[in-house]
């Protein structure tokens, strides 16, 4: 595992390189040494041959001088003396050559000294014999004696020379042996080193190859990534840029130019050229944001206007984040996107909001008009009519009395309409003050409000305990009034109206009527009566404003009451549903969110 890691680390290649360099140095050093050795041994062989040759030559000169001397001794002819004299010179020369050759060899020097002794002895005998024979003529016995001594000396010389030649040969042999040893080991050594180097180089070749493949793959991936990011920029209407904090160098992506309506990379990457496209009024702001950014601080998101090359006004938004790369450089990476649509949408939304607010205010003003200004003349008409019918009734004709009655009912109806409309617009009011109250209290208030008609109809109202909830109290009270009032109004003649109010805690999942994805827990409050009921097909229609199921001559009403109920329930993020069966009764179900 560790080895594998080492193989994969970048140190591996460096180590292989260093080892290979050393191996090459080693091999060349060994080769150099080997060649040197070869050279030297050749010299030594030559040297040994030279020495031996010269020794042979020396010996042959000695023989020459002996032959000359003998010839002279026999013939007394001085012609024979010539080689003798010449040989003497040659011997000296040859000896000095040998001496020169063996300068650094103590054993041979020693031998040479002995040889010199023998040669001198030999020469002395030669010259002595020669001298004696020249001076007084030697007798045969004497001559024989002298010659014998000469022969012995000569033998010593010969043996000495042989010894020397032998020694030289031995030296040569031992040198050759050691040379052979070296020469035998060196190639193996070189081969092994070469082999190891080869293996190492092959391994690193494989490694480099693999790295190269990886590089290729990641290069390909990078190309694809680059292209997809380019595409994303075009589709997403944004461009990216980088600022090297240390060198203050900008790099813009192609899409930055396209956003400005320019050809990609058509001007220098940098803030100065970009600034030319920034709306003149926003330039100071733009520069301020950029210059205020402290080093190593992210660029906050900010929006500004741009005048494109084609003079189009666009809104851009820019933001940036500091990133430190592997080389330790701080780079501000940013994106600039064209947010014109977004900005325009939000501007128009703002405008719509202002309009909505204004129309809401108008509605409130209308409320006041309806509640006060419209009511006042109406009230006076009513009061005058009541005065008229009280004081002048008897003096009116029959048709006059009839008209008075008709005016009276019309004005009454108008009053109810105005009151109901007022309630409906109050249910719409924007200010919603939620309070935690007991719904029981609100129900009691509602019953109190309706006390007169409950009494008139002799209705029986049965209710379960209601919870405490956070609601808009007067609205929920109004809801109860409207629902109970509705039941009272549409009760059957000659049958005691019965209203049953029940309450249950439920979850959205248990109930089929409400969406399952809404908040979990609800209070389900039902109002059930034994009135005239209605066809189930109208169950939704009855909650629509001004929608009535009955002629106003049969049942008085404005068609606003249940619309108010729906509005109130919606204000509490709840649901209201109606169920009806003609001649059996109707049932209203309200779901109020528990944590409303």
């Amino acid at each position: 595992m560790k080895l594998n890691a080492f193989y994969k680390s970048p140190i591996f290649l460096k180590s292989v390189f260093v080892v290979s360099i050393f191996a090459i140095f080693f091999i060349s050093a060994v080769t150099f040494k080997h060649i040197n050795l070869l050279n030297k041994s050749a010299t030594w062989v030559n040297h040994s041959y030279d020495v031996n040759l010269e020794l042979e030559r020396l010996f042959s000169y000695l023989k020459d001088s002996e032959t000359g001397q003998r010839g002279f001794l026999i013939t007394k002819d001085s012609t024979f003396l010539e080689p003798y004299i010449q040989a003497k010179e040659k011997i000296d020369r040859s000896f000095s050559i040998v001496k020169n050759y063996t300068k650094n060899d103590p054993a041979q020097e020693n031998n040479l000294r002995k040889l010199q002794l023998y040669i001198n002895k030999r020469q002395n005998y030669l010259s002595l014999t020669l001298h004696l024979s020249l001076k007084k003529g030697l007798n045969d016995k004497e001559l024989k004696e002298k010659l014998l001594v000469g022969k012995y000396t000569m033998d010593s010389v010969r043996s000495q020379i042989n010894t020397m030649i032998l020694l030289e040969k031995e030296t040569l042999k031992s040198r050759e042996l050691s040379y052979n040893d070296t020469i035998k080991v060196t190639p193996i050594f070189i081969y092994i080193t070469l082999l190891i180097t080869l293996v190492l180089i092959s391994v690193s070749y494989i490694r480099i190859n693999r790295d190269l493949e990886k590089l290729q793959v990641s290069n390909n991936r990078l190309t694809v990534l680059n292209e997809s990011s380019n595409l994303a920029e075009i589709v997403g209407n944004f461009g990216s840029w980088q600022l090297n904090i240390d060198t203050d160098q900008y790099t813009f992506s192609d899409n930055i130019y396209r956003l400005l309506g320019c050809e990609p990379q058509s001007f220098k990457n940098g803030q100065d050229d970009f600034l030319k496209y920034v709306h003149a009024e926003d330039r100071t702001y733009f520069e301020g944001i950029n210059s205020k950014r402290l080093e190593k601080e992210n660029l906050p998101s900010f929006t500004y206007r741009i005048i494109r090359k084609d003079k189009q006004l666009r809104y851009f938004r820019t933001t940036g984040r500091i990133v430190t790369n592997r080389s330790g450089q701080n780079i501000l990476i940013g994106t600039t996107s064209d947010v014109t649509d977004e900005v325009l949408a939000s501007l128009s939304l703002e405008q719509q909001n202002i309009e909505l607010e204004a129309s809401n205010k108008e509605l409130v003003a209308f409320n006041y008009v309806a509640s006060h200004d419209l009511q006042e003349p109406l009230r006076k008409i009513q009061t005058f009519i009541s005065r008229l019918s009280d004081k002048e009734y008897d003096s009116l004709s029959d048709s006059g009395k009839e008209y008075i009655t008709r005016i009276h009912s019309s004005v009454d109806r108008m009053r109810i309409l105005i009151d109901d409309l007022l309630q409906y617009s109050r249910a719409n009011k924007t200010e919603k003050v939620f309070e935690k109250v007991s719904l029981d209290t609100l129900l009691e208030n509602a019953k109190f409000d309706l006390a007169q008609s409950i009494e008139e109809k002799g209705a029986m109202i049965q209710s379960e305990a209601l919870p405490k909830m956070t609601v808009i109290p007067f609205q929920i009270q109004q809801l109860f009034i409207n629902l109970i009032g509705n039941s009272l109004k549409y009760s059957k003649e000659k049958v005691t109206p019965k209203i049953k109010i029940s309450c249950k805690k439920v979850t959205a999942l248990e109930e089929d009527l409400i969406p399952k994805n809404t908040k979990d827990k609800f209070y389900k409050i039902t109002f059930e009566d034994n009135g005239i009921g209605f066809e189930q097909e109208y169950a939704e229609k009855i909650f629509i404003l001004f929608n009535r199921l009955h002629n106003k001559n049969e049942y008085a009403g404005t068609g606003i009451g249940l619309a108010i109920c729906k509005k109130i329930v919606e204000n509490h993020k709840g649901y209201i549903f109606a169920e009806g069966k003609p001649n059996e009764g109707s049932k209203f179900t309200i779901y109020l969110s528990e944590d409303c």
Binding site: H372, L378, R379, Q382
Partner: protein, 148 residues
């Protein structure tokens, strides 16, 4: 023997309403003396006279020119001299805001102008015959609005 009158004042800018008001008291068999004023300024000018006979019950319309009912209410409540006056708000509006505001500022009762003369007579008769000391001690927001 001096006959005991109940002094009543109405401040209302509406001529018809003043007429209904005085007619109603004329028909009621109660010993009352009714004074009417056209707006808040006239009313306050009268009340601020040192020799003025202070009313037992003051009926105040809310929406009046020059000085409205709320301003009058504030001025009256600031002056200890008027402590014994029972103040009845007498308005067309029955909006929660108006009821709340006048209750907080110290009015004794809130009457929505009825749309029927008989009812008007009943309301006025009820209001002037209330034992105010007893009524005011048990006053709360729920019985502030006179229900009929």
């Amino acid at each position: 023997m001096v006959k005991e009158y109940i002094h009543i004042i109405l401040a209302d800018d509406d001529e018809d309403d003043r007429l209904f008001f005085t007619d109603a008291f004329d028909e009621l068999k109660i010993n009352t003396k009714v004074n009417t004023f056209n707006d808040g300024v006239e009313l306050m000018n009268y009340l601020n006279q040192p020799e003025a006979i202070l009313p037992n019950v003051l009926f105040l319309d809310l929406n009046m020119p020059r000085k409205n009912g709320i301003e009058c209410l504030d001025e009256i409540k600031k002056n200890d001299r008027f402590n014994d006056i029972a103040i009845a708000i007498f308005s067309t509006s029955s909006s929660e805001e108006h009821i709340e505001e006048t209750f907080v500022r110290g009015a004794n009762i809130y009457i929505k102008k009825p749309s029927d003369f008989a009812t008007l007579k009943k309301v006025l008769s009820d209001v002037v015959t209330i034992n105010w000391q007893y009524y005011t001690s048990g006053l709360n927001k729920d019985n502030f609005l006179l229900r009929l």
